[in-house]
Amino acid sequence: MKTLIIGASMLVFAASVHAQQRELTFEPTELRGGVVMLSTGAGGNIAYLDGADGILLVDDLLGGTGPLVEAAIADIAGEGVPRFILNTHYHGDHTGSNDHFHAEGSTIVAHHNIRTRLASSDDQSEYGFLPIMTFGADIHFHMNGETIRAFHVPAAHTDGDAIVYFEGADVLHMGDTLFSGIFPYIDVAGGGSVDGYLEAMEIGLQIARPDTQVIPGHGPLSTREDIQAAIEMLVASRAIIMPMVENGMTLEEVIAADPLAEFHDDWNWGFICTPRMVATLYFDAAGDTGTSPLATRCN
């Protein structure tokens, strides 16, 4: 593998994504043990390990980006078609290139529920998107001198999440069970839950040591302190909102009271703005698993 100059090597590709012209910039960060994190700012963070036994890729970005992901990996590793792709969950910003890589011969690996959810989705139900190798509790890969453990955390961000740990490298890919420094999206309609989300982050904390390099589904390269901070924010936010729901306030009243004002400046972002975080916790406390927090307007 070529040596990377961390953060300085920017790979720019132009391509048609979702039928519109769009440019993706892949920013590679070389982590311990030869693991490479690729961030684009569009879609989830992906990571790969290459070597004589082939490439293992964690997540594969947005629909239509397959050739770009392949080129970005090939630019560094010399070859861009992974032997295995692990999907951390079913969302299209983590599984969008499954079809491209399936056609190239990659084996797509995921939790059982990811296959089930993709099979019933509108835009990713074609055969190539579906993982052809699925697991329940866990699956491990012993390759390139590394042990990679993927294990399921139930009812967290969705009902099919996996956390991936590169044991020798001590690199932890949390998938979307960690939005680092930004409010998390908890897809309750997709089988996620606030309790399970917190539990998944607690498991991440149990694995991560002070020096562990933690890759969040979204956000910058992180450490266990970022997991700890995300847990504290979510626990505190829930403690604020739960009594308001118990007191019979409507969602509109709760949002109007701006109960998460103390977190807004640090955690608010475009996708999960503060009102949507409020809505997530409101629906969870109310036992409403049918209404998406994304239905709430940001302003």
């Binding site: 296959r115 052809i132 190798m133 699925t134 697991f135 329940g136 866990d138 491990h140 012993h142 390759m143």
Partner: protein, 298 residues
């Protein structure tokens, strides 16, 4: 009755003993269960080959030189080496040929215990010596703890781990569309069974695993045993009932205070399954092992 045809593929091999209990060293006996499903007998445990739109799935890797011949047979017949292979357990006759398939790009799969058992130097209480780890070329690339599935074209292959059965690291493969179950040595057809108590196997786990296999199957299911000819679920049930009877006889003897030595001397299992053939082991060996295993206080 199972509709199948068998043919023999001979290959040149200047080998060691000709008459091995593990089967001929210089030939593969191929049983065609259908156009896409084969049972292959040869040097080592039975191999199962299932061809799908997404590639060939193989159960067990046999022993050299049969492993190379098996790979060549699959390439010739289906156009490529297996895409994936599962080891049903760690015994050499089912897994020592893994290097052939790892070198061919096959995704080699096994239960976590299996890899752990062969990947590290360990002391064998049985043979009272250190056993060296197998080279990495012979280790499975992928391991799982509980269960996993392959969705290949129209075929679904479920791989699951029955606890503490023939060994502590068994896998059973169940192909739904082909309606085939490969049991590994949890079920052997026509010979005295081995239960590897030294590697985590148990009588009760084996009996439970056989019940599960029976329940998974229907009357049309082709059961591919670890050794011996094709079977049906009725054969699995009959086999299980014999093991249950042996278990009962053993527990009664233990309750009466009959020693292991006296128990083996009386050869109480032979009359239960006179049709089973001795090979590595016989009725007396199994009686002694049952006495050991079932005599352990909980």
């Amino acid at each position: 009755m199972l509709a199948s045809t068998a043919f023999i593929i001979a290959f040149a091999f200047q080998g060691i003993a000709a008459d091995s209990p593990l089967g001929a060293e210089d030939a593969l006996v191929v049983t065609e269960i259908s156009e896409t499903v084969l049972m292959v007998e040869g040097f080592g445990g039975n191999a199962t080959v299932i061809s799908t739109m997404d590639g060939v799935f193989l159960v067990d890797s046999m022993m050299q030189p049969a492993s190379e011949a098996l790979n060549a047979l699959i390439v010739e017949r289906f156009g490529a080496s297996p895409r994936a292979m599962i080891n049903t357990h760690h015994h050499s006759d089912h897994s020592i040929g893994n290097d052939v398939f790892n070198a061919s790009g096959t995704l080699t799969i096994a239960h976590t215990f299996l890899r752990h058992r062969i990947a590290y130097r360990r002391y064998s209480d049985l043979s009272e010596r250190w056993v060296e780890p197998r080279p990495v070329e012979r280790l499975p690339v992928t391991t799982y703890e509980d269960e996993m599935s392959l969705f290949w074209g129209a075929e679904t292959i479920r791989i699951y781990h029955p606890e503490a059965a023939h060994t502590g690291g068994d896998s059973v493969a169940h192909a739904s569309l082909a309606n085939v179950i490969a049991t590994g040595d949890i079920f052997v057809h026509g010979v005295w069974p081995i239960i590897d108590f030294y590697a985590g196997g148990s009588v009760d786990g084996t009996i439970a695993a056989l019940a599960e296999i029976y329940e998974l199957a229907d009357d049309e299911t082709v059961i591919i045993p670890g050794h011996g000819p094709l079977a049906t679920r009725a054969d699995v049930l009959a086999y299980r009932e014999k093991l249950l009877e042996m278990r009962g006889v053993t527990l009664a003897a233990i309750a009466e205070g009959i020693s292991r030595e006296a128990f083996v001397e009386s050869d109480p299992f032979l009359i239960i399954a006179p049709e089973w053939q001795p090979w590595f082991v016989d009725s007396g060996w199994l009686a002694g092992e049952f006495h050991d295993n079932l005599g352990v206080e909980d």
